[in-house]
Amino acid sequence: MKKLVVCALCAALVVPTLAVSVSADDSKELVLYTWENMFPQEVLDGFEEETGIKVVYSNFDTDENMLEKLSMAKGGDYDVIVADDYIIQTAIEEGLVEKLDTSKLTGWKNINPLYQGQFYDPNDEYTAPYGAGIPLIVYDPELVDIDIKGYNDLWDASLEDSIALTANYRVLNGITNLALGQDFNDQNTDDIAKTGEKLLELAPNVRLIQDDNTQDALLNGEASVAFLYTSQVTTALQENPDLKVVYPEEGLGFGVMGMFIPSQAPDKDEAYQFMDYILQPENAAKCFDYIGYYCTNKAADSLLENQDLVVPDSVTEGSAVENISAEADEAYNKNWTEFKAACN
């Protein structure tokens, strides 16, 4: 007993001192706020070497958590943030985002225009895109008898208890809307009720609903079909190249992650330097290869090791999850809870 306590005490005192001695005291710092593993260590080290600015990597788990922290800090505390599109829209509306001075960003011209002028930042005043995602259907042709072409095929009776789904309620409602021929962000409550009914019919086919590591279920044989985020599609294909990827014929969902500087960021100059560093093609290529999202940097396309990360030419548009009325949101929420309960 005592031993255990002594061990813990020793460790608690020794490890922090080690950690402190590792991190040298640098005057120039920058707080980067995003999910863990969004930048390869190599790029962060490269930035520090080139500019002498140390990157303090701070993490959040959900966009909402980030927004809350940022609004409590009144747009301060953090220097560069990478988050999802819809939350950036809210952050901009609340005045938490700095208007970019693009003259400070030599790499601005490298951005792929396909990802510009999006709903959350129509005039490209506040954000630079950092990776895009298109949720796709991936399946194992050896285990699936039918030829899957779109969302509607997911409802096929032969797929009983074999689909793995990601867990974003708006995206799942959205693709059901597309399957019904409705708008991805349909706000009509009668339509949403229909969406709910349609979703319930999908329930018997669902094996699991999970937001993280969803691809694992496909790879270990728990599921034969999966609806996956882009980074998961990339990982799944790397592990098993025989999997088939489907760009659903009914239309695509679409999401962009954006990089922005908070309005009261303490180290704005450093933040600009960091953004510009990431916009350089060779750095951007390393980043996208690492995170496995579609490359949003046109100049980096040819430098990518994984050419699957260059968005296919056939993709010209997709529907993003946009902020909708509270009433519609409520209805979607209810659909989702009912759907999950029906899956059991």
């Binding site: 609004s71 094996r207 609903i209 999970q210 728990e222 929420n333 999950k340 309960a341």
Partner: protein
């Protein structure tokens, strides 16, 4: 007498101060939040409303509560059945082995619980260790599909919460005067009767605190249903999680939490009435 009391006051003062500021403060905020309105997009509008509580009455959400209770009860039952004998036996070990057992019990905590659950995922999956073992033993022909099912969630819950039960039972069984049990045996009581009349009664407070420490958190643990259950059962914990994040409806989440808090309290009070553990008065 007077002196004794003043000593007790000093002892209790830190708990009083800390609880009032840092526990009651945030909780009052939560209760207040449950009567507010969600602002479109993000944030809260401080206008009084009962709408959040009305919403809970919707069958969709009521179902979440019954489902959570069922799961929490099932898991707690398994935890008692496995953990009580464990804690009890552990208390009977020699001092040397007691220490070792304690260390063995605590070591797993060095491994992040999320990662340990991934370990279970690998064991339980269709092509996993368990099916492999069962198959080579000739017990099954077709692999069992345990992962992403109800039993998988119960296994996960039991696994994560078991140490809480074991330690509670252990710390109250450890102070047992074994000579009492022996005396009962000497007086002719059968082993089971001796256990029931003496040991069990005396370890009841430990069992009770174990039940509270396992039942209560099992209402809110959503990540087990997520990782091992494939999210197919909606628990109050996951519902609150979703309302807090993607739903951005904090007042509703707060109302759910308040109702959960009240229901859990009622459960504990009921349980205490049944087991009649008067010594633990106050907690409910």
């Amino acid at each position: 007498m007077k002196k004794k009391k003043s000593g007790a006051v000093w002892m209790i003062l830190p708990l009083y101060i800390f609880t009032i500021i840092f526990v009651a403060g945030p909780l009052l905020y939560m209760v207040a939040l449950s009567f507010a309105q969600p602002k479109a997009g993000h944030g809260v509008e401080w206008i009084f409303t009962l709408e959040n509580y009305k919403k809970i009455l919707d069958p969709v959400y009521m179902q979440t509560f019954t489902g959570s209770f069922k799961l929490a009860l099932t898991s707690t039952l398994f935890i008692c059945l496995i953990g009580y004998p464990f804690g009890y036996f552990m208390a009977k070990l020699s001092d040397k082995w007691k220490k070792r057992a304690m260390i063995f019990l605590m070591l797993p905590f060095w491994v992040n619980s999320l990662i340990r659950l991934y370990g279970w995922m690998i064991i339980l999956q269709t092509k996993g260790l368990l099916n492999h073992a069962l198959k080579s033993l000739g017990l099954i022909d077709k692999p069992l599909r345990i992962l992403y099912s109800y039993p998988a969630i119960v296994i996960g819950m039991t696994y994560v919460l078991l140490p809480f039960m074991i330690l509670s039972v252990y710390s109250s069984a450890e102070k047992l005067d074994w000579s009492l049990v022996e005396a009962a045996r000497d007086l002719g009581a059968k082993p089971f009767k001796a256990f029931w009349t003496v040991s069990f009664k005396l370890t009841l407070p430990g069992l009770l605190s174990g039940v509270i420490l396992t039942f209560v958190p099992s209402m809110g643990l959503f990540f087990i249903a997520d990782i091992l259950g494939g999210n197919k059962i909606v628990l109050v914990g996951s519902l609150i999680q979703e309302q807090m994040t993607r739903g951005s409806n904090w007042p509703f989440a707060a109302a759910l939490a308040v109702v959960l808090m009240i229901l859990t309290t009622l459960m504990i009070m009921l349980y205490r009435k049944i087991t009649n553990a008067k010594e633990l008065e106050g907690v409910g």
